[in-house]
């Protein structure tokens, strides 16, 4: 009798810490891969399961081993078919083929890229450069409420469309049994007997008496059937629905970006990360998210994602045109009672003189009342970043937006110069919301 031990309940993930060590080790390469994937992927699926290919550089495990080529070597193979000793086989031109039966065995992993899957958390952590994402599920966004009917038991009154057949028939069946409603088969039996007696030739008393008795029975059954109906209004049950307040599960996200010549590759990349982050936040909260891309120079237009990020436009910069375009799209397709509206705007701060005031006016009067949240980032040159740390001085657009920020709580304006700066833009918003949500609960308790 051996010693059996059931280890299945032992803690799993024994390798977890080794896995983390490995990721740390491969960090530099992973970052490259992920930066690349930001470029290649669209905003909506950037955080999907990531299969990453990491070049083996830095994570190789070198050993002394023989080179697969060179020198003289003999190797035994199996399954000879037509060779005899002395045969010569020409070598394949490049690599491949049966030549190096040895190299696979010797070098083990080879020099191919190393491919594996990152979990979502691991990806996000690398993506936002060590920013610890808070538990986003708990964040509490302000939202438009919609109502949805929810099943809530049965009722005796209602509209015929809501009749619950199963319940109704069950009640009817019970009542019919309890009140002894004659069955069709009983009636059929009596009718058959009567017919049989009637068809018999001749007359005698007993038969007439039996016939009478049967006729009486039949009449009684038929009467009873009339008194006890198949379905009585008492039986009928309706499905009951309650109107339930539901958080609206649809959101639309407007991405506004200045695409004039001053926005270079770096600026657009940062902007894309900014949009991705907002999308990630929203994705945790809403079932369905639409993304609308509006780019503007001195005029604005709605475009698809590729055009948005990768086509170049020339022209001046008039920010208010983008706001106008956004309002138009909202009016056309996204009624506020159905959609939660989020807006994210990225720009390098240039604007046509005098237009900034117009923007603030539009924000104040038209845009902000419709939006759940409006985030603006100004993308700085890295060299400028230090000069513009304090928020007072800056471009006209920046100063104008500062005003808007003071009057609207759900408006955020931030300057960013590196990917690491993006996250705090949102952190403040969600932190604030959490506080707001916490306070009333305390009051209740």
């Amino acid at each position: 009798m051996p010693n059996f031990i059931d280890r299945r309940l032992n803690p799993k993930d024994k390798s977890l810490s080794n896995r983390q060590r490995f990721l740390r080790r491969a960090r530099a390469q992973l970052k490259n891969v992920i930066n690349q994937s930001v470029k290649d992927r669209s905003i909506a699926d950037v955080d999907g399961r990531q299969v990453v290919n990491v070049p083996t550089k830095g994570i190789g495990e070198p050993r002394f081993h023989h080179s697969p080529r060179g020198g003289k070597r003999d190797q035994v193979f199996t399954g000879n078919k037509e060779f005899t000793s002395g045969d010569r086989l020409s070598k394949p031109k490049q690599g491949g083929g049966g030549s190096g039966g040895k190299d696979a065995a010797d070098s083990g992993e080879g020099n191919d890229d190393f491919s594996f899957t990152l979990s979502r958390e691991e990806f996000l952590e690398l993506f936002f450069e060590d920013l610890e994402l808070p538990d986003l599920v708990k964040t509490n966004l302000k939202e438009v409420i919609a109502f949805k009917p929810r099943r809530a038991g049965y009722t005796v009154s209602g509209t015929p469309t809501n009749i619950n057949v199963l319940r109704t028939m069950r009640n009817s069946y019970g009542r019919r049994i309890a009140l002894h409603r004659p069955k069709q088969s009983d009636i059929d039996a009596i009718v058959a007997k009567i017919e049989a007696l009637e068809s018999q030739p001749g007359h005698d008393d007993t038969r007439a008496r039996r016939l009478d008795a049967l006729q009486d029975d039949l009449a009684r059954l038929l009467r009873k059937r009339k008194i006890v109906p198949f379905i009585d209004p008492l039986d009928i049950r309706f499905n009951r629905f309650e109107r339930e307040a539901l958080p609206n599960t649809k959101a639309v996200m407007f991405c506004l970006m200045d695409v004039s010549g001053s926005m270079g590759e770096r600026e657009k990349d940062l902007a894309k990360r900014f949009f991705i982050l907002l999308h990630l936040f929203l994705k945790r909260r809403y079932d369905k998210i639409d993304i609308v891309f509006i780019r503007h120079t001195h005029e604005a237009q709605e475009v698809d994602e590729d055009t948005f990020f990768y086509s170049r436009e020339t022209g001046g910069t008039v920010v208010s045109t983008a706001l106008e375009e956004m309002l138009r799209v909202i009016k056309e397709r996204y009624p506020t009672q159905e959609w939660n509206i989020y807006a994210a705007q990225a720009s390098d701060g240039d604007n046509f003189s005098g237009d900034s005031e117009k923007c603030v006016r539009m924000l104040d009067q038209e845009v902000m009342p419709l939006c759940q949240y409006y985030a603006y980032v100004e993308i700085l040159d890295e060299r400028e970043a230090d000069i513009f740390r304090s928020s007072d001085n800056g471009t006209a657009l920046w100063r104008a937006y500062q005003e808007a920020g003071q009057s609207w709580e759900n408006f955020q304006a931030k300057r960013i110069a590196q990917p690491g700066d993006i996250y705090p833009v949102f952190r403040e918003l969600f932190a604030k919301q959490n506080k707001g949500a916490g306070a009333p609960q305390k009051a209740k308790a």
Binding site: P2, N18, P62, R63, S67, K72, F77, S99
Partner: protein, 520 residues
């Protein structure tokens, strides 16, 4: 035969595919009966552990040890295995067995009962017997102590990480892992005796010399007086002797002699070296170890079936997985990945059984020692105990099997643009095929021969390594440079590597960490 002793002839050990601990234990007893009393196996006590597939992945990635210190490379293997497994590109092993006392075998919970029976016979008896009896394992591994040692190692390295930081520990481990293949003793060496023993030996030697002193010897002319070695050469020889050079166990050498390592770093090298040494016998006995386990399971399940203890369904399932394990595709098959050690080992052992019981004339000529001796059990047990792959193949590969597997030798010389079929499975070729395949499985041939040959502790302290180049086969260059850097990290001073041809003695290449121009 022991067969008669079992009474429940008609009752199946189990039916259906689900296993329970009850059926497992009943099956184990039946298997043990055959293994011990029929095959005469001699095994460590067994400990069978049931694990889930995730735990199997965990075990895989830490080179099959239940306890292992932490290192990123294990994480790398883990993500790789996991990816392959998730994609369905690779199944997991049905079992994993650890050479320890008690012998631990991991069985997957997903296995059907039939598979559990197969795996029990394979691991708990086949591998177990091999571990306990093969001379390499007996000589080099200490099955009783390994788990305790690993526990110590894990704790020690964790403590080092706490004290010196994970980065510092990782650096040492990286370097040590790079040298793992060259961190083993290949031959038994006289243990360095305790000081008082050394003194005793010196005294005895002196006594002997005094006793056998003969003044006549002094009068002999000393040979070739002119070729007196120069002072420098004497110095070098002395130095080499004091450091016991040349030394092929690089990790051992660095552990003992590196001028810069701190005690904890030396201990880490020691740990890695111990583990390498522990696995060294397994690397040398792939064919035999797997062959032994496969032969044992095949014999045992057939016996069980003959005794009416296995249902036909179970037997079919077992045979199916047995035949996929010993499947050997031909060289031109896309699935060909070299010679399958399971297939070769199993076929050879089946062949030995045939030769012992019903030899042909040819067998009598080629293997006169065992042909027709009738005792195949004893013959196999003897082979399992006293051989490693290379010697086993050289000793027992019969012409019959060479023909059956249709083995042939392909020669590849760098200067020709063709391969030559130098031997095939015919009368003229048997010898060469057997010699070549045995060399193909010789670890001494597979791994490069690299030794520490010299260093000058008073000079620039450069460590000189020598690679003895066999048949002109060079080292893979990219890795070579990387590993040298690792050695430099452990040694603290520059390291150079010379490739010396084994026949001509010429230097083929030089590589060094010192300066780029020196490397040319």
């Amino acid at each position: 035969m022991a067969k008669k002793a079992t009474k429940k002839k008609s009752s199946f050990l189990f039916e259906g595919s689900d296993w329970t601990f009850d059926t497992m234990s009943r099956t184990y007893d039946a298997i043990e009966e055959i293994a011990i009393n029929d095959l005469g196996l001699n095994v460590y006590p067994n400990q069978i552990e049931i694990i889930s597939s995730e735990q199997m992945l965990d075990a895989y990635s830490s080179i099959g040890m239940p306890l292992m210190y932490q290192h990123w490379s294990f994480g790398k293997h883990f993500v790789r295995e996991e990816e392959l497994y998730r994609k369905g590109a690779r199944g997991l092993a049905y079992e994993l067995v650890i050479n320890a006392k008690p012998c631990i075998s991991y069985h997957m919970e997903e296995n059907t009962m039939a598979m559990q029976a197969l795996v029990t016979a394979h691991a708990a008896f086949g591998h177990n017997h091999f571990f306990k009896n093969n001379y390499l394992f007996r000589q080099w591994t200490d099955a009783e102590a390994i788990l305790n040692y690993m526990e110590f190692a894990k704790g020690f390295i964790a403590k080092c990480e706490e004290r010196h930081g994970p980065a510092a520990v990782e650096e040492v481990l990286d370097a040590a892992h790079a040298l793992m293949d060259h961190g083993v003793f290949r031959y038994r060496r006289t243990p360095r005796g305790a000081p008082h023993k050394e003194q005793m030996r010196a005294r005895k030697r002196q006594e002997y010399e005094e006793r056998t002193f003969n003044d006549l010897w002094r009068t002999l002319p000393s040979p070739k007086c002119g070729a007196e070695p120069s002072e420098a050469e004497v110095e070098i020889a002395k130095r080499k002797k004091s450091l016991r050079l040349p030394e092929e166990n690089l990790l051992y050498f660095l552990e003992k002699n590196s001028p810069i390592l701190e005690p904890w770093q030396r201990e880490i090298l020691h740990i890695v070296r111990k583990i390498a040494q522990y696995f060294y016998p397994q690397k040398q006995t792939k064919v035999m170890n797997e062959g032994c386990a496969t032969f044992v399971h095949y014999y045992i399940v057939n016996k069980l079936y003959d005794q009416g203890m296995l249902t036909e369904g179970a037997m079919l399932e077992i045979l199916h997985s047995h035949s996929s394990v010993v499947f050997q595709p031909s060289f031109d098959d896309p699935r060909y990945g070299g010679i399958n050690p399971y297939a070769l080992g199993f076929e050879m052992m089946q062949d030995i059984r045939r030769i012992c019981t019903e030899p042909t004339e040819e067998d009598k000529r080629w293997l006169p020692d065992i042909a027709g001796n009738g005792d195949w059990r004893g013959t196999l047990r003897d082979a399992w105990a006293n051989h490693r792959d290379e010697s086993f193949i050289q000793q027992f590969l019969s012409p019959h099997l060479i023909r059956k597997m249709r083995l042939f030798v392909l020669s590849d010389s760098e200067k020709d643009d063709y391969y030559t079929v130098s031997s095939i499975h015919d009368e003229r070729g048997y010898e060469n095929v057997r010699r070549t395949i045995s060399r193909n499985f010789d670890l001494g041939m597979i791994e490069p021969n690299i030794q520490v040959v010299d260093l000058d502790l008073r000079g620039d302290r450069q460590l000189c390594l020598q690679h003895i180049v066999r048949d002109g086969i060079p080292l893979a260059e990219k890795n070579r440079a990387e590993v040298l850097k690792h050695i430099r990290r452990l040694w603290g001073y520059d390291v150079s590597l010379h490739g010396v041809d084994n026949t001509s003695g010429e230097t083929v290449y030089r590589d060094s960490t010192a300066k780029p121009e020196a490397a040319a």
